[in-house]
């Protein structure tokens, strides 16, 4: 099964350190939330994990030969000159799954519209659909629910939660919302500001999803840790 | 003679570097023949013949060397009021020749049928028209149809003949002379073709061309130039000692080449300029007009347009 080992000592960009020592593992089927202040290096870490950048002191290693990834970038990164549907197909989406996800995420009516003509929230939902439609062996999600209204946010979270139940793949979820982290993840990694160090690697207690009080308490604890 | 030069009227001649006109001008200047006749020759170098023609039209020079067909065509095309009042006095009576490689099986014009013939200049070049008329009359073949023609720039064609990519080449005489020195055989000179066409006398081929208006306004200068030029040619004909100093102007690869160039040059010097030549040229024009058609002569018919030749001077 797919596993990830991250053991970074330092990552520099344009001559400045943007990541300090960060080590953690991601087991098969495990969902890990990544939390940290803006600019601390979360997106940079995700690029390293995705293998899009290899210049780093330390190791970032996937078991096996590197899984097929489903990635949600922080910006939608769609091909504006292709339709919504084509953006899914070109990424290697499964046809039926793509249709289902467009439907679920309220984009079915836009299937044949140029991606350039979507609103930002639609583009972000499409980016999420793309990551979930490609039969990924691991998910890397950079704020997948940002810029969505409450209704669509709830919907998108539900879609991801169902997905993870059906296909428990290792998932790295960058989020600013601790409640979201607690609701979806098995573990929460809290990063420090500046060149990010790993502050805490905190397991989410098993009962949170059924016990709102426990969830609230966990969020409070995490908020304290993150401060 | 510096004072003489200062007092002299300048005469601007457009020439080609390494062109034969420069030889004559060089002799004139070296012997002070221009100042002796009250003018100061200024030669302006250009890279191609076309460039000299552009320069003449643009008023940059007073005269250039070009063939009289060019004059006739412009006069015919533009009519009497057209402004192209170019007129001509002769510089050389030779045009060129058909050259074949040393061991070529081609012995007569008729043998050219079905062979690859290179033609310097375009399809309206005088030599080509003369050759076609001559072949039609003498051998009964239409070279235009019977040969595999290649028109092109003379240096490229000379190279192609040397490389065996052509069987024969109709080219300008400086290239013919060089070929001759390199062992090529002259199949037929254009001058022979002209007389073969039954044209009495020797029509000129290339000459100095200038504007009629300019000539009328600068009669003394023109006459002085003609006189100087004839003196220079006489020197070049009679005096062997003139030639060594022309060597750097000729860019001859070898002595043999230089000698060939000298001989062709001398052969072309027009000994006379008068009614006999004008009539010969008029008859030649009819022949060319018949072959070249309206593309060559415009709508003017086969009569040489009046004023093509500068008749006020003759020798």
């Amino acid at each position: 099964m797919t596993r990830l080992t991250v053991d970074i000592r330092e990552k520099r960009l344009a001559g400045r350190a943007v990541l300090g020592p960060v080590s953690f593992g991601l087991d098969a089927g495990e969902v890990v939330a990544l939390v940290g202040p803006s600019g601390c290096g979360k997106s940079t870490l995700l690029r390293l994990v995705a293998g899009l950048d290899r210049e780093v002191t330390g190791t970032v290693r996937w078991s096996g030969e590197g899984p097929r990834l489903g990635v949600v970038f922080q910006q939608p990164r769609l091909l504006p000159w292709r339709t919504v549907r084509q953006n899914l197909d070109l990424a290697g989406a499964d046809g039926a799954e793509a249709t289902r996800l467009l439907e679920r995420l309220g984009l079915a009516a836009k299937a044949d519209v140029w991606a350039s003509q979507l609103s930002l929230g639609m583009a972000r939902r499409l980016a999420l659909a793309r990551a979930l439609a490609v039969d990924a062996q691991a998910l890397l999600l950079d704020e997948p629910f940002a810029s969505l209204d409450e209704g669509n946010q709830r919907l998108a979270r539900a879609v991801l939660a169902e997905y993870l139940v059906r296909r428990p793949v290792p998932t790295l979820l960058v989020t600013h919302d601790l409640a979201e982290a607690v609701a979806l993840a098995h573990r929460v990694l809290v990063l420090s500001p500046g060149p990010a160090r790993l502050l805490f690697d905190q397991a989410v207690p098993p009962g949170v999803r059924t016990d709102p009080a426990l969830a609230a308490a966990t969020v409070a604890v995490l908020r304290d840790l993150a401060r | 003679s510096r004072r003489a030069r200062a007092a002299a009227v300048p005469l601007r001649v457009g020439v080609l570097r390494y062109g034969t006109v420069s030889w004559e001008l060089d002799v004139i200047r070296r012997h002070g023949l221009d100042t002796a006749h009250g003018l100061a020759l200024v030669s302006q170098e250009f890279a191609t013949g076309q460039a000299t023609q552009v320069a003449l039209q643009a008023g940059q020079v007073d005269t250039i060397a070009v063939d009289w067909l060019w004059v006739a065509r412009q006069r015919a095309a533009q009519g009497p009021g057209g402004g192209a009042d170019w007129t001509f006095i002769p510089f050389s009576n030779v045009a060129g020749a058909v050259m074949v490689p040393a061991g070529s099986p081609v012995a007569t014009l008729a043998d050219l049928a079905g062979r690859r013939l290179g033609i310097a200049g375009g399809p309206l070049d005088k030599s080509w028209l003369i050759l076609r008329a001559y072949a039609q009359r003498q051998a009964g073949i239409d070279l235009d149809r019977a040969t595999e023609k290649t028109f092109g720039a003379p240096p490229l064609l000379a190279n192609a003949l040397a490389a065996g990519r052509l069987d024969a080449l109709l080219t300008y005489w400086p290239f013919a002379a060089r070929g001759q020195a390199a062992g090529q055989r002259t199949l037929l000179t254009v001058e022979d073709a002209v007389s073969g066409l039954g044209i009495q006398g020797t029509p000129p081929i290339v000459g100095y061309v200038f504007s009629e208006r300019w000539a009328k306004a600068n009669g003394a200068v023109l006459d002085g130039f003609i006189a100087a030029s004839r003196q220079a040619r006489a020197l070049l004909t009679e005096n062997e000692a003139e030639w060594p100093s022309l060597r750097p102007l000729a860019d001859a690869g070898s002595d043999a080449e230089f000698l060939a160039l000298r001989d062709w040059y001398r052969r072309g010097i027009p000994p006379h300029w008068g009614p006999a030549e004008w009539q010969a040229a008029a008859r030649l024009y009819q022949v060319l007009a018949a072959v070249g058609g309206p593309a060559l002569v415009g709508d003017g018919g086969d009569t040489l347009p009046a004023g093509t030749f500068w008749r006020a001077s003759s020798w």
């Binding site: 690029r47 995705a50 899009l52 097929r68 990834l69 990635v71 970038f73 910006q75 990164r77 091909l79 504006p80 000159w81 292709r82 084509q86 070109l90 990424a91 290697g92 140029w114 991606a115 350039s116 003509q117 793309r130 490609v134 | 076309q50 023609q53 039209q57 060019w70 065509r73 412009q74 095309a77 533009q78 057209g82 402004g83 192209a84 200049g121 375009g122 399809p123 309206l124 070049d125 023609k149 290649t150 028109f151 092109g152 720039a153 490229l156 190279n159 192609a160 490389a163 990519r165």
Partner: protein, 251 residues
Amino acid sequence: MVGRGRAWLVRALSILVLLLLWEGAGRLAASPLAPPASTVLATLAREVVSGALPHHVGITLARVAASFLLAMVAGTALGLAMGWWRTVDLWLDSALLLLLNLPALVLIVLLYVWFGLTEAAAIAAVALNKLPTTAVTVREGVRALDRDLLEMGRAFRFGRAATLRHVVLPQLQPYLFAATRSGLALIWKIVLVVELLGRSDGVGFQIQVYFQLFDVAHILAYSLAFILIIQIIEWAVFQPLERWATRWKAS
């Protein structure tokens, strides 16, 4: 935005104004060296009727088409490779610059001398002249590609062909159109030189002949014939193609 109908009206008017200006200037000049539009158009008509112009223009067009295709395909490929891989760029940069700046005349003459005055040499000479400018343009386009989209393509394993077709080419579109427009013009101009130096037919050959006679009306008539054809290609092919390629931007 200007409506489609009005756009064509303006286009037609602009050509009319051009012709009128030309006509007026020509009449004012009253010189055979500056013939008015009407004279040139009459000459053009006569040459069309005689069949000479269609013959020569056809031959030139064929040469232009062959060289254009060659140069665009090879130039685009080279530009892509040099923009994409820095090592390729370092190795070939000087050679590209050499080819780019080797005078057309020199290249043509050398190819004619080495390979004879053949059609193949002519077309190769023209294509080699245009190729480096296409490569230079496309290379700039590749260097300006959006890195975020390329990363997206890598993350989702688009593969080389799909990346090229769906990520890279749409971004190169303006560069390719620039290369196409100026390329067609450049190629036609070089074809003229090639024909002038060593071919026995084509527009360049004809222009050379009329140049020797200094017949400006004919020279302009032949030039104009070709320009008209390019104008038609522009309207019938390039502009619709460009609209099609950018239709996702419309509105």
